[in-house]
Symmetry: C2
Subunit: 254 residues, 2 copies
């Protein structure tokens, strides 16, 4: 497939490298910032552009991987293309594309990407959707080349998944951060808690989280919870997080 | 070392198996519930008792691994022993032992234990403390036989660590649970989000969590956050968790 990539951030970069690795042909990289486009294009040995008027309109697939609120503007710049146009957003409706173009789709990789860390796409769930049945089949073939975990999800389910991911990833990471704040304040290194973080995640890879909940809240151990709240007396936000989550655990497991 | 184990729960079980594996001699298992004591004693090929009057008072080490609020009562039953007596609690002061016995200590494994899941003790941080310098050296040798990660921590630091563990493990697991609740309500399987959970943990094994925070709150993406809050309109507790954690992320990363 000849593919034009629109975007140069974390998702665009990881996706482009994975696509090239399975033999797809990235014919152009677009970014409003030409330097960013050039950086990624250099990795892919392809052309960098920063003007949508220069877009190659003969490609099979256009992947828009930019910030959610910038997708509509990029779509408007693709009025002359005939190939399938997809975005990679968890929260954006397919209509942002299909209201303008006939061949619209979504190609949402459910993963947290960092610039520095390489990822094996085989294990990344890819959530796909299209308004065009024929194009959908092509998208499905491409997704299966990249990953063993391909999910055909409509927009409503995709949005729920994205919200669930905020709880399981973004909020979880912030709790790690708050744990680190407590450790650092007391001259303890984050390293001491890393094996616990790894095992906490490992447990739910083979069980459901409600089955393996531990800690003072699920035991209704008021004495320990009160000690913890008083230790947090000078950190009111951590106290609020502690109370909110403990109350929720108690309610779910009562 | 000849060791008496007082307790038969998750921590006691995992610890006993690890101690036996490195060649220590578990001479007795005590539990107020004789059946529980027998179950664990059978695994260790040792004696089960449910009466503290029958305790072997010639052992080198007594490990109390019972619920926090039951430790004091067990300590009172050990007035005739001469060996070192330790508890395995993150939150309990060493004084609960040292106020009664001369050779007091703490042996706190910082990990989340499940009955079903085997664990490699090599990677489990062991936090140790003692009121007796000579006994402390013995405890240190034992800890290093079990684990590569031995930390000498006083009670105040140990309590902070336990509190940090509530954030990094117990609360994190509850967020996984809430993600699952959202998925199940929408006929989505928890399996779809497991690779994200694994990667979220993996990232902080090599970086600090504040450096890898992602999601709408850290981007200050009010539009997505408002959409998410309205999706949670009929789940007020999840809405409260969403708001509390998003506000905290915004505050930390502003």
């Amino acid at each position: 497939m000849n593919i034009v990539l629109l975007g140069s951030g974390n998702v665009a970069t990881h996706l482009a490298i994975a696509l090239k690795a399975v033999g797809e042909n990235i014919v152009q990289v677009f970014s409003p910032n030409l330097e960013h486009a050039k950086q990624l294009a250099a990795k892919l040995n392809t052309q960098a552009i920063n003007n949508l008027a220069e877009i190659n309109n003969q490609a099979d697939l256009y992947i828009i991987s930019v910030k959610d609120d910038a997708i509509a503007e990029v779509v408007n710049g693709l009025s002359n293309v005939d190939g399938l146009v997809v975005h990679t957003s968890g929260t954006t409706d397919i209509k942002v594309i299909s209201s303008v173009l006939n061949k619209a789709g979504v190609f949402y990789p459910l993963q947290t990407f960092s610039k520095a860390k390489e990822l094996n796409f085989n294990n990344i769930p890819l959530c796909i959707e299209s308004t065009d049945a024929e194009q959908f089949e092509k998208l499905k073939v491409l997704a299966h080349k990249l990953s063993n975990k391909v999910y055909e999800l409509d927009g409503e389910k995709r949005k729920v998944l994205h919200l669930a991911a905020v709880f399981a990833c973004n909020f979880t990471n912030h709790l790690y951060s708050m744990a680190n704040e407590l450790l650092v304040k007391n001259d303890l290194d984050f390293d001491i808690i890393r094996p616990l973080i790894a095992e906490t995640a490992n447990k739910v890879l083979i069980d459901l989280p409600a089955n393996v909940q531990t800690g003072p809240a699920v035991r209704n151990d008021e004495s320990t919870m009160n000690k913890h709240l008083s230790m947090l007396a000078d950190l009111p936000e951590l106290q609020e997080i502690y109370e909110t989550l403990s109350n929720s655990i108690k309610l779910v497991h009562k």
